[in-house]
Each structure stands twice: as C-alpha cells, then as structure tokens.
C-alpha cells in the first residue's frame, strides 16, 4: 500500500511498523523512555500518559477500537476499586 505524503497514520502503521497494536505499544515504550529521561516523577508520568496514549491510540487506530478496549480497562479498574472496598481478604 502506497501512503500519501504526511499521512502519518498510514506511514507509521503500514510502512514503518506494520501493526496497529505494535504501533501503540511502541509509542507507549517511547513515551515512557522520554518520561524517564525527563525525570518528572511517577505520578506525573502516569497522569500525562492517559491523554497522550489516548490521543496516540485514536490517531493510529479508530474510535470504536479505543472505546471497546478502554471500556474493558475501566471495568478492571472498577472491579479493583470494588474489591478494595468490599473485598473479603
């Protein structure tokens, strides 16, 4: 597939990396590498990662994919909170 000039999504996903998931994982790795070099702390790194990775995911994937996977991740987080509140350990 030949990509248009400045079509970053096509260039990154189809020509450079070849897979959407791998592109997101690689983007996250690059982000955390840069964050560790800049030394702005764990909390700030995590707080900045949420919008950054969301926008990165939306840029190289589609809304429906992000919507479904974020729903699952939020489900995990709510279950974790629920277990912390009423867990029986």
């Amino acid at each position: 597939m030949i990509c248009n000039l400045l079509d970053l999504r096509c260039i990154i996903v189809n020509e450079l990396i070849g897979n959407v998931l791998l592109s997101v994982v690689l983007g996250a790795v690059v982000y955390f590498m840069i964050a560790s070099r800049m030394k702005f702390g764990f909390d700030t790194t995590i707080a900045f990662s949420i919008p950054l990775l969301l926008i990165l995911g939306l840029a190289i994937s589609s809304f429906s994919v992000i919507y479904a996977f974020v729903t699952v991740i939020v489900g995990f987080m709510l279950a974790f909170l629920f277990n912390q509140i009423v867990g029986n350990r």
Partner: protein
C-alpha cells in the same frame, strides 16, 4: 472465595459498562449473565426476558409450562436425593456452580466483540481470563479457592 469474587467483579463491571455504552446486547442478543444484568437494568420487563422464561416458564401460564418449572422441579429432586444419599454439601451447590460456569459465555461474547476490533490485543487480554475463570469455578466448587 477470593479469586471467584474478583473474577465476578471484573465480569459484572465489564458487562455493565459494555451494556450501558451499547456495545453488547444492543440488538437484543444476550448471553446468560448479560440477560440477567439487562433485566436488572430494565426491571419492569424482567418477567418477559429470556432468562426468566427459560428458568421459570411463561409467567401467566406456569401450569402448562413443560420446560421451565418442571425441569427445575426435576433437577431439584435429583439434587436433594443425591444430597440425602451422600451427605455431601457440595452436591447442593452444583446448580450454582453450573450457573457460574455458564458465565464463561459472557467472557466469550466480550472476547468476540474485542476480537472483531483487534484480534491480537483481545486474545492477549481476554484469552487467559476466560480460560483461568473455568478452572477457578472448579476450584471454587472443590472449596480450594
């Protein structure tokens, strides 16, 4: 009990979020657990839902129901007789174990939804959960959870 409760929390919250955002159960095709939760979300119509009519029968016509009520009575008689014969408590919770095992189908329907969007990420996230859940149900029934 710890692992089972964690798995059920995860399933219920993913289910609820998927339903309220309209990603599953939008066209009226639900699995068992989704039907229960969809019934709870729309409590006024609970007696018309598939789970209720499958388990109990048609509410206004219970006397002639040949599937729901009578199969429930039959299964109950078998379980009570087995319990009297063996005095094993675990016999009594076989229906609950079977119901919990059926909830695997809910993990499967969420997996299939995610697989249709991105197969690799979906299998990495949902594959281990779906498989280990069935083993957790078994452990829970044996009392080892």
């Amino acid at each position: 009990m710890g692992k089972m409760v964690t798995y059920l929390s995860i399933l219920i919250f993913i289910d609820l979020l998927m339903i309220v955002t309209g990603q599953i159960c939008a066209s009226g095709t639900c699995t068992l657990s989704s039907t229960i939760i969809a019934s709870l979300l729309n409590i006024g119509e609970i007696t018309f839902k598939g789970f209720f009519t499958g388990l109990i029968g048609v509410f206004s016509d219970l006397g002639s129901s040949t599937t729901g009520l009578f199969s429930l009575i039959g299964a109950g008689a078998v379980i009570v007789t087995s319990f009297i014969a063996t005095r094993e408590f675990r016999i009594l919770i076989i229906p609950m174990t079977a119901t919990l095992a059926l909830l695997t189908s809910d993990f499967i329907i969420i997996s299939s939804k995610l697989i249709s969007l991105n197969p690799v990420a979906a299998i990495f996230i949902m594959g281990p959960i779906s498989i280990i859940y069935t083993l957790t149900v078994m452990e829970w029934w044996r009392g080892k959870d």
